[in-house]
């Protein structure tokens, strides 16, 4: 039984973290491609169009991986978490179904029109297609985060017939947890795309490819995008932290490894290094104010829900939080550095240091993954905060062996998929802005 819970959680973690490697880039790069297509539409400039097409090709590869890994998400609640699905389906199923109706249909249909309809559709309609795809990916994020927010902070329901039943749809979609989480995820998506574009542009500039001038343009645009993105991600993250302090104090205490309640509370930078009163500043905006520690919170939970362990795995939350914030700050440094290089050094010096930018692509991915680890493990032992414990939520009819099989199968397919997507992206990057592909004789449908 414990095995089954552990295996089901591990499988969910693998499939979801993997899926979310592609999601933020789909949103952020979708916006970038849509903007550049709009510029090409307005100016009629062939350079703009080449830029839009190049990044569009990378967008499509990433999008395909996001779509196929997303199919698993729609079904695994029922497959592995049937008790959970029974308990919250009345509330949780709604945003999922709405997501399919409002977002998936638009995304898939208009992406098909955008890819295959370039010569068939009027230019304005073709442009509208990519904007619809981008809008749909945001709508998709909206509904899935509404669903996740219900797990973090259940609202708008009553406990009835042994399950949670929805009573107030507006309360569900204006969940305070959601209102802070949505902007944070969207700004993280902008950051992801910005660093993806920065890294690839830097690599092309460094190689002095024939299209350096065009890559300098995207480099500059991505710097701007990254500046906005990182600023927004830090600001929205700060607000979300404050909201977590109110809604899920245990999660905050675990993120900070704060054992005892403190006033003023110090902020832990790394183990052993603390900034006095800084945590109180982060939570209350002033250097005083109480922040509850894990011991007191554990007692409060025991008092309310009976004996048990209500403390999440602290080390995951603590390390992940430092990785997330650390990566964001390094990203901010990279942006300033890139601006300095671009404006002050007149683009001609220190080209080797552009390599740093290439490595910088990993930063938002690390931060995104760490962020979700905090959000999901910090909620433990609850699957729905304060309502349903995770170990009561699994499908009891599914054997551990089946889960091991499915986990192994998904992992193998996902690894192969990652390699293929990486190789194809690398090919596209090598090819750059060149339009016609060198085709081997007779073997290809000319692309």
């Amino acid at each position: 039984m414990d095995d089954l819970v552990f295996l089901s959680r591990l499988q969910f973690a693998i499939t979801t973290v993997y899926h979310f490697l592609f999601v933020p880039l789909t949103i952020g790069l979708g916006l970038f491609v849509a903007i550049w297509e709009t510029m090409a539409y307005k100016s009629g400039n062939s350079e703009d169009e080449r830029i839009a097409r190049f990044w569009g090709r990378l967008f499509l590869l990433n999008f395909a991986a996001g779509v196929v890994t997303g199919i698993v998400q729609e079904f695994q609640f029922g497959m592995n978490w049937s008790e959970y699905s029974r308990f919250v389906g009345d509330v949780f199923g709604v945003p999922l179904a709405i997501e399919a109706l409002l977002a998936f249909f638009v995304e898939s249909t208009f992406l098909g029109l955008w890819i295959f309809g370039r010569t068939l559709l009027p230019k304005g309609v073709h442009l509208a297609c990519i904007w619809l795809v981008f809008a749909a990916s945001c709508i998709s994020a909206f509904w899935i985060l509404v669903a996740n927010s219900f797990m973090q902070n259940p609202v708008g329901y009553v406990f009835n017939n042994g399950r949670a039943e929805m009573t107030d749809f507006l309360a569900v979609i204006s969940n305070p947890y959601f209102l802070h989480q949505f902007p944070h995820v969207i700004s993280a998506s902008i950051c992801t795309a910005a660093f993806f574009i920065l890294g690839i542009s830097a690599w092309k500039i460094r190689r002095c490819s024939q299209d350096s001038a065009l890559f300098e343009r995207t480099f500059k645009a991505a710097l701007f995008m990254g500046l906005i993105g990182v600023a927004a991600v830090l600001f929205s993250g700060h607000l979300q932290g404050q909201s977590v302090a109110k809604l899920q104090p245990m999660k905050l205490a675990a993120m900070e490894n704060l054992k005892e309640t403190a006033n003023p509370a110090p902020l832990s930078i790394l183990p052993g290094i603390e900034m006095p009163a800084m945590l109180s500043v982060m939570v209350h905006n002033v250097p005083r104010g109480e922040v509850k520690g894990m011991e007191d919170l554990q007692k409060a939970f025991e008092y309310r829900y009976g004996p048990g362990n209500y403390t999440p795995p602290v080390w995951i939350s603590y390390i992940s939080f430092r990785v997330m914030v650390g990566c964001s700050l390094v990203m901010l440094f990279f942006i300033f550095y890139g601006m300095f290089w671009f404006i002050y050094l007149k683009r001609n010096m220190h080209k080797k240091i552009l390599l740093l930018m290439v490595m910088g692509i990993s930063l938002p991915y690390l931060a995104n993954t760490a962020g979700w680890l905090i959000a999901e493990t910090g909620r433990q032992p609850w699957i729905v905060y304060g309502l349903m414990p995770t170990d009561k939520a699994v499908s009891v009819g599914v054997s551990s062996g089946s889960v091991i099989f499915s986990m192994a199968a998904f992992s193998v397919i996902y690894i192969i998929l990652a390699v293929i997507i990486f190789l194809l992206m690398r090919r596209e990057v090598y090819r750059g802005y060149v339009e016609k592909r060198i085709t081997r004789k007779n073997n290809a449908i000319a692309v």
Partner: protein, 326 residues
């Protein structure tokens, strides 16, 4: 009609959409490998569903999501009971979806060949599994207190395999007819020749099924009549009408299955008291009402733009014009 019954019908409609649209989609995915003699020809066949396959697949996702929202107990029991078949289905759909994207980007003949095999396999497995699953739903599976108590092999009965074969050949017929309407020249001829064989086999299977399922549902007789009519039209080369009739036959068959189940949504082979019905599975009245409003607004919109997208790509395809301009 009660809200529960309304959602039962609506979910049946979503499955009709899935079986019809993914039907020709899977059919083409399988047929490209057998009808296309070289890479270029296979590419032409695949191109015919290029703009549409993803939108078709969303019907499956939406059917899943709608079951979750309207009948959470059904969703929970169905997907955990058929765990391994669904794992296989998901793996097949992942492989299939990726292959569409890889195929036209890879310049190596070997990679393309592997993609074509994977596409055929990734279309074949779901086509077979869909029929197996549907057959099991009607006859019942071992469930007790909402949990599956059987093994994988309880699902693979001769009856279920027959259902799989029936679905498979219906999909092949559907796919072949779709190709006769979308492709031109020699490749179209080949698809036409194959559609004649496929439709005859499908009619035979349907005849057996009708004898078998007679006591469950009278509607399956209508399916048989429709597919028979479709066969006659195919043999006389009235392909558009035949395609419409096959679509109607698909709709009728799914309707027959759902009608046979009603008001059960999951029949327990252990005891009738263990059956899941639309009454003991449904969401609250509030949720059902909310979802009804959402569906009433958005389903017509979805239908409109999906039909429009088929209209945009109405032009027949030949190896000459089957390429993506990126």
């Amino acid at each position: 009609m009660s809200l529960e019954a309304l959602w039962f019908v609506l979910i049946a409609v979503l499955w009709v959409g899935f079986f019809f649209l993914e039907g020709f989609d899977f059919g083409v995915g399988i047929l490209q490998f057998f009808l296309g003699k070289n890479e270029r020809e296979r590419g032409t066949y695949i191109y015919s569903i290029g703009p549409h396959w993803d939108g078709n697949e969303v019907w499956l996702l939406t059917a899943g999501g709608a079951i979750f929202a309207a009948f959470p107990f059904w969703y929970a029991t169905l997907f955990s009971a058929l765990y391994l078949p669904f794992v296989i289905l998901l793996l097949a759909l992942i492989v299939r979806g990726v292959c569409f994207e890889i195929r036209h980007r890879a310049n190596f003949p070997k990679v393309r060949f592997v993609c074509d095999i994977a596409l055929a396999l990734g279309s074949f497995l779901p086509a077979l599994l869909a029929g197996v699953a549907m057959a099991n739903l009607v006859i019942g599976i071992p469930i007790e207190n909402g949990n599956f108590t059987g093994t994988f092999f309880d699902l693979v009965t001769p009856y279920a395999l027959f259902g799989g074969a029936l679905g498979f050949f219906l999909f092949l017929t559907n796919g072949a007819l779709f190709l006769t309407l979308k492709i031109e020249g020699e490749l179209q001829e080949r698809a036409y020749r194959f559609s004649k064989i496929a439709v005859v086999i499908t009619v035979i299977l349907f005849a057996i099924a009708t004898v078998w399922l007679w006591r469950y549902s009278i509607i399956c007789v209508l399916s048989l009549v429709l597919i028979l009519a479709a066969m006659l039209l195919v043999l006389r080369n009235y392909l558009k009408t035949a395609f419409v009739l096959v679509a109607l036959c698909t709709a009728c068959s799914v309707a027959a299955l759902f009608y046979a189940m009603f008001p059960n949504v999951l029949v327990s082979s252990i005891s009738p008291d263990q059956n899941l019905t639309i009454w003991n599975c449904a969401s609250s009245a509030y949720t059902l009402k909310l979802m009804s409003i959402v569906a009433a607004i958005f389903v017509p919109v979805i239908l409109a733009y999906q039909i429009w997208s088929y209209y945009v790509f109405r032009k027949r395809i030949s190896p000459r014009n089957a390429n993506i301009e990126e």
